[in-house]
Amino acid sequence: MSVSLEIADGSPWYLSPNIWTVPGDDPEGPPGQPIVGTPCYMWARVHNQGTDLVQNAQVRFYWANPSVGFDRSSANYIGTANVTLAGGAQSDVLCLMPWIPTFVNGGHECALAEAFHTSLDPLPATLAFNVPTDRHVAQRNLSVVMAAKKAFHLSFEVHNTARKPGHFKVVTRAATAAEIERALGIFPKVGESLRGAKPGEIAHAGFMAQPCPDTQAPGDTPKDVQTQLAPGTRTGLSVVGQLKGDFALLHVEQWALNRGEKPVLVGGLSVLVMDAAPATKATAKAKA
């Protein structure tokens, strides 16, 4: 049978628009950012790229701390939903199990979903999610942070999910205009409220080891970090920077540096930085 389930990745791949969250008591309400202490419902848009009907496929939903390179053992399982899809059809799938975001990492979390059928289209037998290569899985790793006095920070984790030691490089990358447009579509309310606001950039982007760094002392932070991680371990970092303009989107990427091989992008997250004291009417509205 031709059954091929997919939750499409985003661009970059860790910013899928096909996973979204709905905060509040109404699971069918408008998408929005997870709010600490408030129930949050997850959705995924699942596509059957095959030609045959699949009945009772499963969609599993997870959350994780803002992190790069986590796997099934380190992600937090939320719940499972079912979907029946004709060949070529797609459906928005709701996980009715509410997820209550906590204060871990300031309430910024990453969402992930995977669609499969146990016999007709099973998942690969591995703990790793392999988001960019496995069509079953998609990830939405977007945090929205407010920059106080134009400075911001976001704590996150770097994982080595492999069974051998890993050498990783963590870097930042400024988002393209197209990527910003797509990211704003993930949280339509935020995107709508930023209409007319001036996209800016992040200056002095870099990394610090402290979970709550002094963000008002920019300029001397390393622009990238190289780290050696034992199998199955993780380390914490904070990305910091200065917002120039009303808002900006910054990507944090984790590259595996295997000797003799080309670097491989194994994880990533994105930070939408908004001005906490907006100069423009649009960002004031967004903050409100």
Partner: protein
């Protein structure tokens, strides 16, 4: 827009007897149950080629077996029953939500419905059976039960083991276990050797204690699940105890439900009742279901659907300004003046004493009243062939027409109708009867519920069948809790069982027999 909807709250059917639980509530101690819905085409045009499945549940303790049902044709205004198997063993008691997805072609509709889940348990320290809800805990201590006059093997009991394993209070079952444990652990599927023997049939005298969480100010507290009266939980407990007792008795002879002397004393003012003596296997399961339904119906009738004694007690005990109600107590004695006949307007008296314990003292109110069962049919007719020839691959088609007390023929989703088949070798089977115009039913909503099954050549012999119709809670979601509480469903309306109080054998009347040749 896709006009396939689920107007009513999904309801539970339990695995032992196959019947709907009172008001369709789901119960953790039963483990695996069926989640049933009426899917209705609320539009003007027929819908063709639809399907429905359970998408998701909000509690990880509710494990639904994924199933997609096809709905080949859904005519306008017509309801179809669908069910899903789900394990509620680890469910959290409370109000839960289930999302159903209905699809037809490119159209999709998501319907999110509430269900109510109870968790009945046994408190060994107090000897009380308890039921937990988000609004509080209700505890029931039985002081006396109406028992069959013919005891022991006269009602078809198994011989007790020579070495009775029971220790301490019999309520705990064998080896100190709660009799409720038998609901999941003792039921291993329908055994042709099962013989119904229940030591106690109907509640007679008991005490109720409700601890609301949190304590509440003012005159009225919350209803459980913000919907039914507290008495509904008494119905659930009465039903579960009877089922558990029947299984425990069959498994190891430990189905006795212990009673304690309490307010009002024990003993029945109306004497002991008749005894049931069904044959083993299928008939015993049907009898168990009907007996449990009778216990629930008697409880519901005695305590009134319009306003139960807890609410009436609250009506008549106004707490002092600023005082909190910490708990409520109720002592109840039922007075059975006439036979408890399922589906008929039998009257049950109740003498009850209500106490409201507040932070400023205890207030009380007492009443004696008599209420009639309102879950009735004036009459019903069942038609089915007397003979089915398996060599000709004949189908066994059963039709039923049910008329309510006002002479109105009930149709469509007004009833949940099942036909139970009891075979000559102790077999137990059931099938749905629907009024949806889908074969074998001829015409939708004409008041003729139809179902069918096939027999195989191995089924030869004389089979007995019971057509059991239960009403459905059709309260609309926009009602207030007080309004919704007055509408309860899940009660048996057909007339197969009468429990009389003059000894002898209870009338267990099947709807017919079919000779399978």
């Amino acid at each position: 827009m896709l006009n396939l909807n689920i107007p009513n709250r999904p309801f539970a059917t339990e695995p032992i007897t196959g019947l709907m639980l009172p008001d369709g509530l789901f119960e953790c101690s039963l483990g695996v149950q069926s989640i049933n819905v009426h899917l209705k085409n609320t539009g003007a045009a027929p819908v063709v080629g639809a399907q429905i499945y359970v998408e998701s549940v909000d509690d990880p303790g509710i494990n639904v077996t994924p199933t997609t049902h096809n709905v080949p044709t859904a005519q306008s205004g017509v309801s179809h029953v669908f069910g899903w198997t789900a394990d509620f063993s680890l469910a959290t008691p409370g109000v839960h939500r289930i999302s159903f997805v209905v699809e037809a072609g490119a159209q999709t509709r998501r319907v999110i419905k509430k269900i109510f889940v109870t968790k009945v348990g046994f408190d060994a320290a107090t000897g009380a059976f308890t039921a937990d809800t988000p609004e509080g805990r209700i505890a029931v201590t039985f002081h006396s039960l109406v028992r069959p006059k013919r005891r022991g093997c006269g009602c078809g009991c198994n011989e007790r083991p020579e070495k009775d394993p029971r220790e301490g209070a019999p309520t705990h079952g064998a080896r100190g276990r709660s009799v409720l444990d038998y609901l999941k652990e003792g039921f291993k599927g329908h055994s042709p050797d099962f013989v119904l023997c229940v030591p106690g049939y109907l509640p007679l005298n008991y005490s109720v204690s409700i601890t609301e969480t949190p304590a509440f100010p003012g005159q009225y507290g919350d209803l459980p699940f913000q919907d039914p009266w507290w008495k509904l939980l008494l119905c659930i407990i009465a039903l579960l105890l009877l089922l558990a007792s029947a299984i425990a008795e069959a498994v190891d002879g430990s189905g006795e439900i212990s009673t304690t002397g309490g307010p009002g004393g024990g003993g029945s003012p109306s004497g002991d009742c008749c005894g049931l003596a069904p044959s083993g296997g299928g008939t015993s399961y049907v009898a168990a279901g009907l007996l449990a339904a009778a216990a629930a119906a008697a409880t519901a009738a005695a305590l009134s659907d319009a306003r139960d004694p807890i609410r009436k007690g609250q009506d008549h005990t106004m707490p002092a300004p600023g005082a909190l109600t910490l708990g409520e107590e109720l002592d109840v004695q039922f007075i059975y003046g006439e036979p408890v006949a399922l589906g008929k307007p039998f009257t049950v008296g109740a003498k009850w004493d209500y106490r409201r314990i507040t932070s400023a003292g205890t207030l009380s109110y007492s009443a004696t009243e008599a209420n009639a069962n309102i879950h009735t049919l004036s009459h019903y007719e069942i038609t089915a062939p007397d003979v089915v020839r398996t060599y000709q691959k004949e189908v066994f088609v059963v039709k039923g027409v049910f008329t309510d007390s006002d002479g109105k023929t009930l149709s469509g989703s007004a009833l949940f109708v099942q036909c139970f088949l009891c075979g000559p070798a102790g077999q137990w089977r059931k099938f749905l009867m629907q009024d949806n115009g889908v074969a074998p039913d001829d015409k939708p909503n004409d008041g003729i519920y139809t179902g069918a099954t096939y027999f195989s050549t191995r089924d030869k012999g004389l089979w007995t069948y019971f057509v059991i119709a239960q009403d459905v809670n059709d309260a609309s979601p926009d009602l207030t809790p007080e309004q919704a509480a007055q509408i309860i469903g899940g009660f048996v309306r057909t007339h197969q069982l009468t429990i009389a109080f003059d000894g002898g054998t209870c009338a267990l009347v099947p709807d017919g027999h079919v000779n399978v040749v």
